[in-house]
Symmetry: C2
Subunit: 483 residues, 2 copies
């Protein structure tokens, strides 16, 4: 027997092995590839074009909310990392270190940034003098490096692309409000653009960012019932301000340390996108993020038919483009229509239009949806509106479908045997009471592989005793196995 | 006596010390700053916003000409660099090297990319099978590192941001045509967006890219008469294809190595922009690239006046925004109008609108141009058209002014004594015959500090004997001292 059953497209089925399905799909759909540098990926054009759209959507929100982009060095003096105790502990084991440059050994090794708090705060200290310079609202799009032993394309790679917001404020309250502004941007990005429903909430101390007072997050559920942390927003308190001596003259003329935040999402979002919507036939992408929203496949048997069909196809394509739809004609002569259908299914084009001589005669075009597989004829009259309407429908259907799937696997569980069984057999989220003790949290993790993904901002208080230890409950938390 | 005379803005005058003027301006206008990592800069929000506009303008052209963006790892195995002999010789001395990662020493050191030919060709070899896969037209926006000893903000930094196009073709001719497509994009970017006039041509062997058959370039002249290489496009022949064994099955079914190109522009363009247009008062930015195209400064003496003026200012601002003009009201209460005028002159806002109670009564607004300093009243009626027209005029004036300045300092010189005098006393370009001998080129450089910036694509043939050695002339070249 073969080790795994792959489809004609070379993709393992989800049922057979979800993890292999994912890796096959990412490579076969030409989203990303392994590079010769262990743990580092190449983001191929089809993957990068989706990432560009995610980036542009978020970048617009970041600017609308008053933040400005900047760029800080990729190298950080090793000593900087050590100025915040929890921070260095969290990141030092993952650092890549430059020891030589320009042909000689450096006096002080340089760390390739795993995140930029330390290098930014050193500059913030130079720029901030008084409360008039606050809030300072900076964002950076950059590559970062965290040396991981076990990597997976997009989900966990030694180098990844991300944005990191870093802000400084006069008060704790303002910093706290900022972390929630960032969290809301991430929720909107996930739900409205990626069609990925997310839960929002706060992390436990065990799961928070190294150096933060507390960390907010968005968590999405993948098709295999595991949770994927998709974005985080940290209230850093005055920890970094004190480490880097970032002080300002306050409204009373006294010196005070700034209150700061940081928040980021990364190319990991590509993993969330893929594992929320795609299927055994290949990639499924929400229309708002699809580089190509529709492909038109011309169908003909003779040279005579060919010219008429191609001319009509060009006309349809033009009129759709005028309506703002991203469409192209696949007029490659060496491939049969069936081959093309397969290819664009694999690569996730939301709509396929088929146009042959008979369609032309009947003034219609056949339209197939990637999300449902439904296929129906549509009149050439008002085709731009029909196509735009279908794209909206697909966007909505993908979100609704994912939300329904997630909600069916999200349930309140108040019995530990039931908890263990549900986590092991079905996956998904268990909403359960927790005593608030890190030791209990660890014990649950050791026994079930489930961690507390978040404590929701509303209804986060316990309704009874801890699901695991039976002591007095403190929080009502979302537990799941996670990526 | 003080070491240097600085203006009230803290900027050395250009006449006194051009180099200090540049560094003062970049920092005072908050475009960039020195970082704690030697040789690496921080690009501040005002600088980054201009860079984003340069990037977006070029990115649109790159996509229009059929290229796709992708992302490759920042790390390159040291052995890769050695696969092309000239390439390693050119770049090895400048490399930053990661020797440790994840807490242990790496088996093979990783070089932080100084350019990505080698890592890309390794992947191209996996992706390209037949002529149907060609041309492969890839572009990457990324940070690169070249360890320089003497650095200057934007012009020469250890880390910089750039785009690098990398393409593979079936034939030499197609690769050659591609290098010229890239060159033309760079010319358009420089002239139409940055308002920086450039000469285009080919480099001599001494000045070409390490590993290329030949290198095309755009060269701009700065206000101090020195040339700045602002973009390069390389025909790489089959050098990298052979080094990385990138072969394809050609139309006859035979295996052949691809022909390839690479081309790039970087944050160095920011230096070209600044040193072409700015003055002793601060930054001058062409309106197409200015993040803020106009600032409206309200003028009032009493609280009574204030409300009326601010309301009117908001109305003007809204109507200009509706016309697509990037405008803001500087309503900061703690500063006087004169202070604001100074600040926005320093920071390079192309137009300043002044609005006071008398202007309001007369239904007009005072408009001051940053490029000429001219100031004149304009009617409130049709103000959006007036402002849009002025922005176009400024864009054109900046280009024309820079072209006139450059052309006055670009002259044919056929006598070596005259050549030496002109280069030393006036700077600019000397167009002179050259014998084609590298030894003669070096001798000229040693004696005059002038190098051959380019041989033009048209009229590049010598008209007489070599200006320096008197031997038979081969090329008519553009000589200049350069950054």
């Amino acid at each position: 027997m073969a080790k795994s059953k792959k489809s004609g497209k070379g993709i393992t089925s989800r049922e057979e092995n979800y993890s292999e399905w994912y890796t096959d799909l990412v490579q076969k759909a030409e989203l990303a590839d392994y590079s010769p540098v262990k743990g580092c990926m190449v983001i191929r054009p089809r993957g990068y074009a989706i990432w560009e759209r995610i980036r542009d959507a978020l970048d617009a929100m970041i600017k609308e909310t008053g933040h400005q982009n900047a760029y800080f060095p990729i190298f950080i003096p090793e000593s900087f990392l050590k100025k915040e105790a929890e921070h260095v502990e969290g990141f030092a084991p993952e650092c890549a270190v430059v020891t030589h440059a320009g042909g000689s050994e450096l006096e002080e090794p340089l760390v390739v940034r795993p995140t930029s708090e330390t290098i930014m705060y050193d500059m913030f200290g130079k720029w901030i003098e008084s409360y008039r310079d606050l809030p300072l609202l900076i964002n950076q799009w950059a590559n970062v490096v965290r040396w991981e032993m076990r990597t997976r394309l997009f989900l966990r790679t030694c180098e990844f692309l991300w944005q990191e917001g870093h802000t400084a404020h006069e008060t704790y309250e303002e910093a706290e409000a900022e972390t929630l502004v960032a969290l809301e941007m991430y929720r909107k990005l996930a739900e409205e653009w990626m069609a990925v429903p997310v839960f929002t909430g706060v992390k436990t101390d065990a799961e928070k960012f190294a150096g933060a007072l507390h960390t907010y997050c968005i968590e999405a559920m993948m098709q295999d019932g595991k949770s994927l942390q998709s974005g985080t927003s940290h209230n850093l308190g005055q920890n970094f301000a004190k480490g880097f001596d970032v002080q300002f003259q306050d409204r009373e003329g006294k010196l005070a340390h700034v209150w700061s935040t940081s928040w980021g999402v990364s190319t990991r979002l590509m993993g969330a996108l893929i594992m929320t919507h795609s299927d055994d036939k290949g990639l499924v992408v929400p229309p708002r993020l699809a580089p190509d929203q529709a492909v038109l496949v011309p169908i003909y048997r003779s040279d005579e038919e060919k010219q008429g069909v191609l001319d009509a196809a060009a006309g349809v394509c033009d009129s759709l483009k005028k309506a703002g739809i991203r469409v192209f004609v696949d007029d490659r002569d060496q491939y049969k229509p069936g081959f093309k259908y397969n290819e664009w299914e694999l690569k996730g084009v939301p709509l396929r239009l088929e146009l042959g001589p008979r369609d032309l005669k009947e003034n219609k075009v056949m339209i197939a949806r990637r999300d449902t597989g439904d296929k129906a004829p549509a009149s050439m009259d008002g085709l731009d509106k029909t196509v735009a309407g279908l794209l909206d429908e697909i966007q909505k259907n993908l979100f609704d479908r994912a939300a329904a799937y997630r909600d069916a696997l999200t349930r309140e569980v108040d019995d530990y045997e039931d908890f263990k069984k549900k986590i092991a057999d079905e996956g998904g989220f268990a909403i359960s009471n927790w005593c608030g003790e890190p030791a209990c949290e660890t014990a649950i993790k050791d026994e079930t592989k489930a961690t507390i993904r978040l404590i929701p901002l509303e209804k986060g208080e316990a309704t009874g005793e801890c699901v695991a230890c039976g002591k007095e409950g403190k929080h009502r938390a979302y537990f799941a196995r996670a990526y």
